[in-house]
């Protein structure tokens, strides 16, 4: 590993995920030249802000940030307000803003259906070729322990020249934090993040701009739904299945000599059966 940026990313993948925010700050302080690249490529838990105009909560990430101000997807304003010249570049208008508004509305319903609470936000921006976006969801739970889910879905979309379809590239990360504290188990912490990618072409219905824009929103929503469900199931398997398996590999409750004895008698039975005629 000779590239400092790769080394920083590798280090963040080894150190405890529950401390990613602090470790990120620490790495930046010892290697300041990596600051911009790291801040834009490392996923950390999402902060929630209240939009002063609409009174609604929204999520903060690098994509809706300018300095220390964040843009609300509901009012489309930066809070605290920023320089009007900067705003001209950073605040989306026209087609991008129309899609962004519709996407936020749809994701809001999706969030209610799957998360039954929480906060969601979506941000879109123009690229030289096509456009890009991010769909964010944050949810906490307090069951028999504490739980936190942050999902970050980053899109890159390019329309075909025919405008009958578009190519969608999605990179999704879920940051999951679970904790359990009781007399029986003591303290148990499971924290981490998983990232997966998906790329596919989807059709664009209609000919008018409004129809194509709605098509994009539906296509993005479909991909987020499928990806988040896939990640949720993978997390369940990895967090609980795998962790339990590794503990079982470290120590066996059952006496190893007993297990070995059973394996040997099984083998004997099977080899005896192998010689029998059916």
């Amino acid at each position: 590993m000779s590239d400092p940026f790769d080394a920083a990313l590798d280090l963040l993948r080894r150190l405890p995920p529950s401390q990613t925010q602090q470790n990120l700050a620490s790495i930046i302080s010892i290697a300041p030249s990596l600051e911009d690249d790291l801040l834009s490529s490392v996923d950390v838990g999402l902060a929630v802000k209240r939009c002063p105009k609409s009174g609604r909560d929204y999520l903060c990430c690098d994509y809706n940030r300018d300095g220390t101000s964040y843009r609300s997807p509901w009012s489309n304003d930066f809070d605290p307000p920023i320089d009007p010249d900067d705003a001209a570049d950073l605040v989306p208008r026209g087609k991008i803003r129309r899609m962004e508004e519709e996407l936020n509305k749809s994701i809001d319903v999706y969030r209610e259906l799957y998360y039954e609470g929480g906060v969601s936000s979506a941000y879109l921006w123009q690229l030289d070729e096509g456009f890009a976006g991010v769909v964010l969801v944050k949810k906490s739970s307090a069951g028999a322990g504490k739980g936190g889910w942050d999902s970050i879905n980053v899109f890159e979309i390019i329309e075909a020249t025919s405008k009958r379809s578009a190519h969608y590239k999605l990179t999704s990360t879920v940051i999951l934090d679970l904790g359990l504290q009781n007399d029986a188990v003591g303290g148990l912490e499971l924290a981490g993040n998983l990232t997966r990618q998906e790329e596919l072409d989807q059709p664009l219905a209609g000919l008018r701009d409004a129809e194509i824009e709605s098509s994009h929103v539906a296509n993005m929503g479909r991909m987020v739904e499928a990806m988040e469900t896939r990640l949720r199931n993978l997390l369940q398997e990895v967090y609980f299945g795998k962790a339990k398996d590794v503990v079982g590999d470290l120590r066996s409750i059952r006496l190893l000599s007993e297990a070995e004895q059973e394996r040997r008698s099984h083998k004997e039975v099977i080899s005896k059966m192998g010689g029998a005629t059916i």
Partner: protein, 266 residues
């Protein structure tokens, strides 16, 4: 912001099981420092993680801990009756010398070593144990590692028990698992074991330990289920209450709390 030394030391101390060399390689690329200056951090890591080193002039391994530390980077090994020096970060052992630790019950130590070794072999496919006198008490340690970097996971189990003069046994179990395929997932659990006591004789002590560890492991497995069915389930459903995936073309027509199968459950 903490000093560079403090930051790098904290990275070394937080390295996941089996990945210290990866963490060190990353640190080297980031700051290119001479690692010898972080010797105290390496020493702390190895003593806390019960790293096993080869016994110089002897057979087998001995684990490093604060309980068998003699200071000045020397440690003792009751099994071979030797003490030896360890260099950090290289972990090279040298300068073996005979050493008989002060202890009021050498027989108990020997029988604990034999009994614990047998019990460990029955539960841990691979482990290193340590039985060290500390004044009139006895420390009983075990470390078990499983490394599978080709499958992007590593795990470590550490048990620490102190058997007091009075026969009272107390301890702590720590398990650390790291999974990092396209991500970074860490499981860390810590459980105090106490009130196990009045044990007389090595066999009885070792039996108590095995019992406590079995109980802990069973509770841990139950803990995973509790988490999966409790706080994890409460985060995101597998499917909406309607038991159907979203019809994205029609989503504009959904009215929250009305059309959606009765609305939010709580």
């Amino acid at each position: 912001m903490a000093s560079k030394t403090a930051i790098i030391s904290s990275f070394i101390e937080a390295a996941p099981p089996g990945e210290l060399s990866n963490v060190v390689a990353d640190i080297k690329t980031l700051v290119g420092d001479d690692l010898q200056s972080y010797e105290p951090a390496f020493k702390k890591y190895h003593e806390e993680q019960y790293t096993a080193v080869d016994v110089p002039g002897g057979s087998g391994k001995v684990l490093l801990s604060k309980y068998n530390s003699l200071g000045s980077n020397r440690y003792f090994d009751p099994t071979s009756g030797n003490s030896f020096a360890v260099s950090f970060p290289s972990l090279k052992t040298s300068d073996a010398d005979s050493h008989s630790p002060e202890t009021s019950n050498p027989d108990l130590i020997r029988s604990l070593q034999a009994a614990f070794s047998k019990s460990a072999a029955e539960h841990f496919p691979s482990s290193t144990i340590g039985v060290f006198p500390i004044g009139s008490d006895i420390a009983i340690l075990i470390v078990a590692n499983k490394y599978s970097p080709q499958n992007f996971w590593n795990g470590r189990w550490r048990s620490t028990y102190v058997l007091c003069d009075s026969g009272k046994l107390s301890g702590r179990i720590k398990v650390d698992v790291h999974y990092y395929e396209d991500g970074n997932v860490r499981m860390q659990t810590e459980r105090e074991v106490s009130g196990v006591g009045g044990s007389v004789g090595a066999e009885s002590v070792v039996r108590e330990i095995a019992k406590a560890e079995n109980k802990f492991q069973e509770e841990l497995n139950r803990g995973f289920v509790t988490m999966a069915e409790g706080s994890f389930k409460g985060l995101r459903r597998q499917l909406p209450v309607t038991r159907q995936r979203v019809e994205w073309e029609k989503i504009g027509g959904y009215r929250l709390g009305q059309d959606i199968g009765g609305g939010r459950s709580k």
